[in-house]
């Protein structure tokens, strides 16, 4: 089926990558470490925070609120502040993310029914965290309010009941870990393909390749298959490790995951080859890869939702292969995504793959002549 020459070059290229033990380690060890470190560390949850308290009231109700704060599972430490200056320094030096201030008479106001007002000051340098902490403090104040004796309970239950589909406890790694498959596959595959032609050109062995009996398409395929194989191996390791080690449910169809993965790898390879053919040196290839990979990752919905981006950047997100594969990875893991919905993400991926592969191979041909 597959020609002798083609097989020869694929084997040669695989050897070129795997021969050097340092290269072998840099290809396989980082993905595992990245899964461990980044999978567990990149959380937008807010836990283990330190809060400051400036209690100039000293009455029973300020004590009540402080005890509730200390009991909150998200608060690791409550720092007692002695003065306004103390509060300013604690926030300024980032010893606490926020501080509560109770003025004299707070407890008296609560007890008399006039209503007590406490204030909360946040470190706006970390406004995202601060907003989440503000939510916690609001909730604690509401609970403390409910415990005030003469608070009137509503006649019938009102409010809202929330159900989280796909991830009932909103575990952050359940989102991050499947997403990392899309991110790490992109980095590993693109950086290898980008080096391939550029390296031969820099070392001067490209001319030897051209005078060999290999046809152009055989050289191209020979350069593309090994990085795709490495990408697929890394993705497979993740597919096994994530459910087994981290308990993230794998609810969807594994064959459909591989269908999407192969198309995604083609798309990445096309982009990487384009960079490699344009680059004259390995250094340029690396930088070019960087220039493509960083926006691809940041504009995929991994760092922040695509919906939050301005319209013109959303267009970029829609021609970005990582956006589609991210949807498939999260879908297959958490959402039991039906094959039809996986295919809906495969068509755009296939289109991107066709465009990038044909662009890079025609560029390759024109450079060969």
């Amino acid at each position: 089926m597959i020609g002798v020459r083609l097989r020869a070059i694929i084997v040669k290229e695989l050897w070129a990558i795997l021969r050097d033990p340092r290269t072998r380690i840099t290809l396989l060890a980082p993905p595992i470490m990245q899964l461990l470190v980044f999978g567990l560390a990149t959380t937008l949850e807010v836990k283990n925070i330190a809060l400051g308290v400036l209690d100039r009231d000293g009455g029973p109700w300020s004590q009540e609120v402080i005890e509730r704060v200390q009991g909150s599972p998200n608060v690791a430490r409550v720092v007692s502040l002695a003065s306004e200056d103390d509060l300013r320094t604690a926030i300024g030096r980032q010893r606490v993310i926020a501080a509560l201030r109770f003025d004299p008479g707070f407890s008296a106001d609560v007890a008399s029914g006039r209503g007590g007002r406490m204030s909360a000051v946040f470190d706006g340098r970390r406004s995202n965290t601060a907003q989440i902490v503000a939510g916690y403090i609001d909730r604690i104040a509401a609970e403390a309010s409910a415990s005030v004796a003469h608070a009137k309970a509503p006649l019938a239950p009102r409010g809202s009941i929330t159900i989280n589909w796909f991830n009932p406890n909103l575990d952050y790694p359940w989102f991050t870990m499947p997403s990392l498959i899309a991110v790490i596959a992109a980095i590993t595959t693109m950086s290898m393909v980008a080096q391939s032609v550029a390296r031969e050109r820099e070392l001067g062995t490209f001319d030897q390749l051209m005078v060999s009996p290999l046809r152009v398409h055989e050289i191209l395929i020979g350069k593309m298959v090994p990085p795709m194989m490495v990408g697929a191996v890394v993705a497979t390791i993740y597919l096994i490790v994530i459910p087994l080690l981290f308990g993230v449910p794998l609810t969807g169809s594994v064959p459909m995951f591989y269908v999407a993965l192969v198309i995604y790898l083609f798309a990445l390879t096309g982009i990487g080859m384009f960079v490699s053919v344009l680059a004259a040196t390995q250094q340029q290839a690396f930088l070019g890869m960087f220039l493509v990979a960083v926006p691809a990752i940041l504009l995929s919905g991994y760092a922040s939702p695509v919906d939050n981006m301005p319209g013109w950047l959303r267009v970029v997100a829609h021609i970005n292969p990582t956006t589609y594969f991210l949807a498939v990875a999260d879908g297959v893991f958490l959402k039991a995504m039906p094959p039809r919905d996986v295919l809906d993400n495969c068509w755009p991926l296939a289109l991107i793959a066709i465009v990038t592969l044909s662009a890079s191979s025609s560029l390759f041909r024109s450079r060969m002549e």
């Binding site: 340098r125 970390r126 939510g135 104040a141 403390a144 929330t162 250094q283 960083v294 879908g331 995504m337």
Partner: protein, 381 residues
């Protein structure tokens, strides 16, 4: 150096070498790319693309009650500035839209809602897309907010004492340094650390690894150029380049992204200079240890770029990370520069915060340079 060139001659040699290196750097097209084009792209991505602020989220609305109360609440959801009601219909069809990711939540106004409201109650159901935990939390909180303010308004209209009018304990919130709560205001200053990491570690590691690969390094070592001079010639031009691109980023941050700059330029210069020392030392160390461009690039990416992006407190809160990873962040130099950058832009100078961090950064720098020199000696010998 007895009998060797005078110190005046050594100084001239150093200057000549620096000029040679600087020319070489400026001639290389990838220098412009990494020092100016990449920083611009990163700044744009963090200024526009990565937005952690709460934007309008697409939801579906399932109204199962035909009371006046239900349709009035549905109108409030449609008018909310937090939500974009993209679909209405039964939960079953909205569910598949949630699966596809076209909407991120479903608000269900259940059967008998009008009756419950008349009795003083009324509960809605919120289904959120847990596959995006951050967005899910946001949908739940804001949907409840829409419902609560609708209920309070209704109580008020009907002259009923509102349960929301005066809670016994209320909170006044003030956000210092960033009252607008714009995530851009801390992401853009933080991305300057990412840019300096790229130039200091990534570019330096690549360039010096190339010299090792091509064997020009042994050539230089064979000349009378001393180790100190050699390191100076490799490091000083990139130090200058790093400061130039920091200045460019700062100008753009202030002029284009309207990030306030409340500290002093001198403090910013000191912060950047002390951060570039460990960054350059790390780059030099990686190149001396690997002597191979591909391996050096991968290691620089893994030990410098990604940690700066993900583990430095720039995008993700360090306190929330697992204990082992929290311990690891202390070994990442960029962890000590992010608070300084955020402070010099948003809060104004606080040398009590700067100085300890600068001392730690210089300590890392001394360590990295020391190991780099030792490794280079061994490699040459």
């Amino acid at each position: 150096m007895s009998g060797g060139p005078s110190s005046f001659g050594q100084g001239r040699r150093l200057i000549a070498l620096l000029v040679k290196e600087a020319r070489q750097i400026l001639r290389d097209p990838s220098t412009g790319l990494i020092a100016f084009v990449l920083p611009l792209i990163l700044l744009f991505l963090f200024g526009f693309g990565v937005n952690l602020d709460t934007a309008r989220t697409g939801i579906g609305l399932a109204v199962r009650d035909d009371s006046q109360a239900a349709s009035s609440l549905a109108r409030d959801f449609a008018a909310s500035r937090w939500f974009d009601v993209r679909e209405t219909g039964p939960v079953s069809s909205l569910g598949s839209e949630l699966m596809r990711g076209r909407i991120r939540g479903i608000v269900v106004i259940p059967d008998g809602f009008g009756r419950d409201v008349a009795a003083g109650g009324g509960t809605i159901q919120i289904i959120a897309d847990g596959s995006l935990p951050n967005t899910a939390g946001f949908v739940a909180a804001y949907a409840e907010g829409v419902r609560a303010s609708w209920a309070a308004q209704r109580d008020l209209d009907q002259g009923r004492p509102s349960s929301f009018a005066a809670p016994p304990i209320s909170v006044t919130q003030r956000h210092w340094f960033n009252p607008e709560l714009a995530s851009r205001f801390f992401l853009v200053p933080g991305s300057i650390a990412v840019v300096m990491t790229m130039i200091g570690t990534l570019l330096t590691a690549l360039v010096v690894a190339r010299e090792w690969e091509r064997g020009t390094m042994e050539g230089i070592m064979a000349t009378p150029v001393g180790m100190g001079e050699f390191i100076a010639t490799k490091v000083v031009p990139y130090f200058g380049l790093g400061l130039c691109s920091m200045a460019l980023c700062t100008l753009l941050a202030v002029a284009l992204f309207r990030v306030p700059f409340r500290g002093s330029p001198l403090a910013l210069l000191a912060i950047s200079a002390t951060f570039l020392v460990p960054a350059l030392g790390q780059g030099l160390l990686i190149s001396a240890a690997t002597k191979n461009q591909f391996v050096a690039s991968q290691i620089a990416l893994l030990t410098a770029f990604l940690p700066t992006l993900l583990l430095s407190g720039f995008l993700f809160e360090i306190a929330s990370m697992p204990r082992a990873i929290r311990a690891l962040t202390y070994a990442i130099p960029s962890r000590y520069v992010i608070p300084q950058l955020q402070t010099v832009f948003l809060a104004g100078d606080d040398w009590g915060l700067y100085l300890p961090n600068m001392a730690i950064l210089l300590g890392f720098g001394a360590l990295f340079f020391g190991i780099a020199v030792a490794v280079t000696h061994r490699r040459v010998a």
